[in-house]
């Protein structure tokens, strides 16, 4: 059974004030048709750029930027997105995600992406040297990534009742509070 997607608060409020439940879907559709435009707008504001600055960088008039931000995604041109992204100092990438792909494959893909990002940082750290301030920050960030990953991973395991156990002792351990093995080559997950 398909689940109805949750509407935004603005769409719900619009329906409530209009006294017409059908308005919710109409407003939500409008919001969904401006996802890219909203994102671009948010990027510009986050970067503290004015419409004039973006226009100058794109080699167009500020009124074009105004129209672009006031419009919907349907009116967006590919090169406008590319130009706008560059103007606000953001790299633009296009991603196709196969919905038929198993969740495990999608997770693996994300892991590879993270790995590539970390390798990029490692290269930067090597170039700058150990004593550089940016390198120190990269070191801290590596620890932060691991910590955040473990916290979220544990939360996910907890949410589905999984306990991580070493494979060779898995059949003996029954308590979730079992002490961890000091050295582990590989871990598996089993239902608690």
């Amino acid at each position: 059974m398909s689940k109805k997607p949750k509407s935004s608060e603005a769409a719900s409020l619009a329906a409530l004030l209009a006294g017409d439940p059908a308005v919710e879907a109409k407003v939500e559709r409008e919001i969904q048709h401006s996802v890219v435009v909203s994102h671009l707008l948010s990027l510009r504001v986050s970067k503290g750029r004015t419409q004039e600055q973006v226009a100058q960088s794109m080699g167009c008039d500020a009124s074009k930027i105004s129209r672009l931000e006031a419009g919907t995604d349907e009116g967006l041109k590919w090169m406008d997105i590319v130009g706008y992204s560059q103007a606000v100092g953001v790299d633009f990438r296009l991603a196709f995600e196969d919905r038929d792909l198993p969740a495990a494959d999608r997770i693996k893909h994300c892991v590879f992406e993270i790995d590539a990002g970390l390798k990029h940082l490692a290269e930067l750290a090597k170039t700058l040297g150990t004593n550089d301030g940016i390198t120190q920050k990269i070191h801290s960030f590596y620890a932060e990534v691991l910590f955040n990953f473990l916290v979220r991973y544990k939360d996910s395991c907890d949410s589905i009742g999984l306990t991580i156990r070493p494979p060779h002792t898995a059949h003996k351990v029954t308590s979730r509070a079992a002490p961890a093995e000091p050295k582990r080559e590989k871990t598996t997950m089993q239902t608690a």
Binding site: A14, V27, S34
Partner: protein, 128 residues
């Protein structure tokens, strides 16, 4: 830019009959106004301060009243949704909706409502 925030809506001071009538007469403009309201809420939730960003369809009308305009509706009627963004409590109070032709009366009414809200706030009841 400050840390992310959780701006919510409060429509206590909005007239349901006024909004229902506007939606009945101008459904596309009504949808556009609320879609733009979602954009502004998104920016505020992203930690951007009121007055700290410039977006064409969002303007100050003075005395802490802001208005959102409709966009992207071909041949549309100039429409306005009036708000009072309370930065202290992170509440977007929805005040008035109307056409450009009636904006003077709408702004006047919106400013009156802001004073009421601020009075209630200083009396220790921010949510009403």
């Amino acid at each position: 830019m400050s840390a992310s925030a959780n701006w919510a809506f409060d429509a206590t001071h909005a007239s349901k009959s006024q909004f229902a009538k506007f939606n009945k007469n101008h459904p596309n403009e009504y949808a556009s106004l609320f879609a733009n309201l979602a954009k502004i809420q998104g920016l505020l939730r992203g930690g951007h301060k009121i007055g700290g960003f410039h977006v064409n369809f969002f303007r100050s009308e003075g005395n802490e009243v802001y208005r959102i305009g409709q966009t992207g509706v071909p041949g549309s009627l100039e429409s306005r949704l009036y708000l009072y963004p309370d930065s202290e409590f992170q509440i977007l109070h929805i005040l008035e909706i109307g056409e450009k032709t009636g904006q003077q009366a709408d702004i006047k009414s919106a400013k009156k409502k802001v004073l009421e809200i601020q009075k209630q706030k200083s009396a220790g009841n921010p949510a009403t």
